[in-house]
């Protein structure tokens, strides 16, 4: 039980080293600060303890000193801020060609679906050295995707997609924790990330039952649900032609421009009236309650596949639907 005392998490992603470096810097600086304050306090407490015949010397204060010990710490803190911001910005900007994995969290499990249609529960296989982007949503309450070995975490929120990306650097299995309290079995919502050498990964991906790629599932749904009758592949449909739309700016009826990212496509299916494309009418019915989160993922992936090989670019660094002005 008391065999060994681990004090540091494993380091298994390109991000982990960056976070550790900043953390060690913070430890050093704040360690020095703490030591300094404690040393001065102790020294004063001993040196100026009450002695017979010696009275306290009254001091008003010193504006110069106060300004000094405000500005110097603030400058040091600015270093913490900038360094932390740089890491964060990198964490929230997925590379364009990342391998995508769709994730649906629910009480109390993680459901993953790869582009090729392979499904996993509470276990995710990823290759070493390749960028992986998680496109995540929740079926019920807020969960959080947390892999300590990657030093990464992102809340998984119902009703929208949030994203996270990583590049694993070391084969092995690592904890996946749900870190946002989500009810009874919150502490049981633990999974494993299995990082494999690319060769093993390819073997794993092609093994097992033959799967239908996600985009193909989406295409079938597109037909079954009748989407195809309006979103025709010519310009005659009552809805916009979706070819080449994904990842591009879309001009809306009210003059705004939004980027057609995962959240935009999702919203357009569930709440078609929210953002009407210019020169189209709000005639589309809602599919709220008719498609599951998994089916939505398939539809999103199908729309994505219509954009051609250049797809996969999210709207902004955070992967949220945010209106951006057209360049």
């Amino acid at each position: 039980m008391f065999g060994h005392l681990p004090l540091w998490p494993e380091n298994a992603s390109t991000n982990a080293g960056n976070v550790d470096a900043l953390y060690i810097f913070l430890l050093l600086v704040s360690g020095i600060m703490t030591a300094l304050i404690f040393a001065v306090l102790t020294a004063f407490a001993i040196r100026f303890r009450k002695r017979r015949g010696q009275r306290a010397v009254q001091i008003e204060g010193s504006t110069h000193l106060e300004i000094t010990w405000s500005i110097i710490p603030f400058c040091v803190m600015l270093v913490f801020f900038v360094w932390g911001a740089v890491i964060f910005f990198r964490e929230r900007t997925p590379p364009q060609d990342a391998t995508e994995v769709y994730t649906v969290a629910k009480q109390w499990m993680w459901k993953f679906e790869h582009k090729g249609g392979q499904r996993e529960i509470n276990e995710l296989h990823v290759p070493v050295g390749r960028d992986v982007k998680m496109i995540m949503t929740s079926q019920d309450v807020i969960h959080s995707f947390f892999v300590p070995a990657f030093r990464l975490k992102q809340d998984v929120v119902p009703g929208r997609y949030t994203t996270l990306w990583f590049r694993a650097t070391k084969a092995g299995t690592y904890h996946l924790f749900c870190s946002q309290y989500c009810g009874t079995q919150h502490s049981g919502m633990i999974g494993w990330i299995t990082v494999m050498e690319p060769r093993d990964y390819e073997a794993w991906m092609s093994g097992g039952a033959s799967n239908q790629p996600l985009a193909v599932t989406g295409e079938k749904l597109f037909t079954e649900l009748g989407c195809v009758t309006c979103h025709r592949s010519d310009t005659q449909g009552r809805g916009p032609n979706l070819a080449g739309v994904f990842g591009k700016p879309v001009l809306l009826e009210d003059g705004r421009t939004v980027t057609a990212d995962e959240n935009y496509v999702r919203e357009s299916i569930l709440e078609p009236g929210a953002k009407i494309v210019q020169s189209f009418k709000p005639v589309m019915p809602t599919f709220q309650g008719q498609v599951s989160d998994e089916q939505l993922n398939a539809l999103v992936d199908y729309v994505k596949s219509l954009a051609g090989p250049q797809s996969g670019r999210p709207a902004n660094a955070n992967g949220m639907a945010v209106a951006t002005p057209q360049p």
Partner: protein
């Protein structure tokens, strides 16, 4: 000292013997008696919350969830948080020590609205009874943060009664704050200018601003959660067209400043204690007062640093990270100025001073680890882990509770008219300090290793540090029980306290211990600055303490 009124039994009349029987307490409008009512109530809730904490720590002794069921565990940490935050930490210093001392410190007979003050206690009691009902009726499991849509749809526990209880406690807090603001503006004795106010009063002024401006927001937000739960009003639940992140924005808009409701009064206490036991005026009075107000104002602008991984935009995160560093500046000023206050002082180490030293040390660690969390890159990793738990316990327990205990010892002679046993006091302070660090320091390491908070069971590699933490919690419990015991003992057996046992500056030390109902025999006229220790001389040695009467 002017002649005092004498009771029939020959004792000097004071607020404690001015009336007898339950009615004289339950219908009192004396701020000192209301402070004691609050003291009894919050102490009760402190031990309830502490009991939950001990059960949590016992469960975490082993990796498997074997002491209680998962649902029970979830209720334990939820109710530990709710009871401690809303029924102990927020009211503790303002409603007890602030209530007792502010009128006396500014030379007033009472607060501006004595009846509203009593109403504030009754609202607190209604809220408290609802909380107790919630606990006895099976508890609530939302986490003290009530995150939606879990709280508004999925939780099957007593969310509504908990919300209504906290709603009432919130209004109690608003009324206390309002009372303090008006009192400090309107009731100061002749000569008690703003620049002569003790920092304790400044701290409560800053706190009151937050209470009045922030608390209504959480009250409304929690009502919206209740309405969504009862009537399916779509505000926060995405399946009803709501936005779950809106809840988090509104919740933290209050709940971050609420941290300053807890810590600012503690800073006020520490300023009084450090000056008294160094026999020094405070270093940089104006900077210290402005830092308190600065923390209160900037504290309103940093709430989204609780949401860096919740899905807010990168740019919002950058701004809130920067603003969070800004709030650290006035906090740093305070630590440095307390340290500078000791310089060239004549320092003695009675119990209150030990707690003040403990406060400065633990607040420093709590504050510096806050810088880790304000840094976006590190926060993504440690958010919602034990690192956060350790950090805010260093501020709230290491900081605020240390200050509260220090203040209770410092003013106990004034409140009770009796001295507490100094030796036991020092021992308890030491036990609290050791127990606290053993409980919470290992949690920083656990957090960086990745142990998430609110986990009923956990992977075995985290066990050793959890065992240390539980051991510390046991020691801490002893440290908290001791003062409880000897304070009660001293009420009967303690040496009678002279009016000014510490030879301290401040109007509260110029009246009797315990003070008469209207605080002063004659309205004081102030002609001196706060902390005029150059005129006060040394703290009397034990044998020199003059016996009262």
């Amino acid at each position: 000292m002017a002649t005092a009124v004498v009771t029939d039994s020959g004792e000097r009349e004071n607020y404690l013997n001015a009336g007898h029987g339950p009615k004289s307490w339950l219908l009192t409008v004396d701020h000192k008696r209301i402070a004691l009512l609050f003291l009894i109530s919050i102490t009760f809730f402190f031990f309830i919350g502490g009991f939950f904490a001990l059960l949590i720590r016992l469960e975490l002794l082993t990796p498997a969830g074997d002491l209680v069921q998962s649902d029970t565990y979830n209720k334990l940490f939820t109710m530990h948080g709710q009871v401690m935050v809303f029924f102990f930490l927020i009211p503790a210093v303002p409603a007890v020590l602030g209530n007792f001392l502010i009128p006396i410190m500014i030379g007033a007979k009472d607060l501006a609205f004595p009846r509203i003050n009593l109403l504030s206690w009754y609202l607190f009691i209604i809220g408290g009874l609802l909380m107790i009902y919630t606990i006895l009726n099976g508890g609530v499991d939302t986490g003290w943060t009530f995150y939606t849509p879990f709280s508004s749809e999925w939780s099957k526990t007593n969310v509504i009664s908990a919300i209504v209880g906290i709603f009432f406690a919130g209004f109690s807090s608003i009324l206390t704050g309002l009372n303090f603001i008006v009192t400090i503006h309107r009731m100061r004795a002749p000569g008690m200018t703003w620049n002569r106010l003790p920092l304790f009063v400044w701290a409560h002024y800053a706190t009151s601003i937050i209470q009045v401006l922030g608390t209504p927001v959480i009250a409304i937000t929690l009502v919206l959660v209740a309405l969504e739960r009862l009537l399916h009003l779509g505000v926060f639940n995405p399946s009803l067209g709501g936005d779950p992140l809106l809840f988090q924005h509104l919740f933290w808009f209050y709940s971050h400043p609420a941290v300053y409701i807890m810590i600012l009064p503690g800073m006020g206490i520490v300023s009084e204690i450090v000056c008294c036991f160094s026999r020094k005026r405070i270093f940089g009075y104006k900077a210290m007062a402005m830092a308190l107000l600065g923390i209160a104002v900037v504290g309103f602008l940093v709430w989204a640093h609780h949401m860096f991984v919740a899905g807010i935009s990168v740019y919002a995160a950058l701004i809130f990270s920067l603003l969070s560093y800004l709030v650290a500046v006035p906090s740093a000023i305070k630590v440095f100025n307390w340290t500078a206050t000791i310089y060239k002082g004549s320092v003695t180490y009675q119990t209150p001073m030990l707690y003040a030293f403990g406060f400065v040390g633990l607040f420093t660690i709590g504050g510096l680890t806050g810088l880790f969390l304000a840094s976006l890159g590190v926060d993504v990793h440690v958010h919602d882990t034990y690192f956060i738990i350790a950090h805010f316990h260093y501020i709230m327990v290491g900081g605020m509770v240390m200050a509260y205990l220090g203040g209770m010892h410092f003013w106990w002679p004034k409140i009770s008219g009796r001295m507490y046993p100094e030796g036991w006091g020092k021992l308890a302070a030491l036990i609290v300090f050791i127990g606290f660090n053993l409980t919470f320091f290992p949690q920083f390491i656990l957090g960086y290793m990745g142990m998430p908070r609110r986990y009923h069971s956990y992977p075995p590699e985290f066990q050793i540090l959890n065992v240390l933490s539980t051991a510390g919690a046991t020691i801490l419990a002893v440290g908290y029980l001791l003062p409880m015991v000897y304070f009660m003992w001293s009420m009967r057996y303690g040496k009678p306290a002279p009016p000014n046992p510490w030879n301290a500056a401040g109007l509260e030390w110029q009246t009797h211990s315990p003070p008469p109902t209207f605080n002063f025999d004659e309205e004081p006229v102030v002609t001196w600055e706060a902390y005029n220790y150059d005129e006060m001389g040394e703290i009397p040695e034990k044998e020199e303490v003059p016996v009262a009467h």
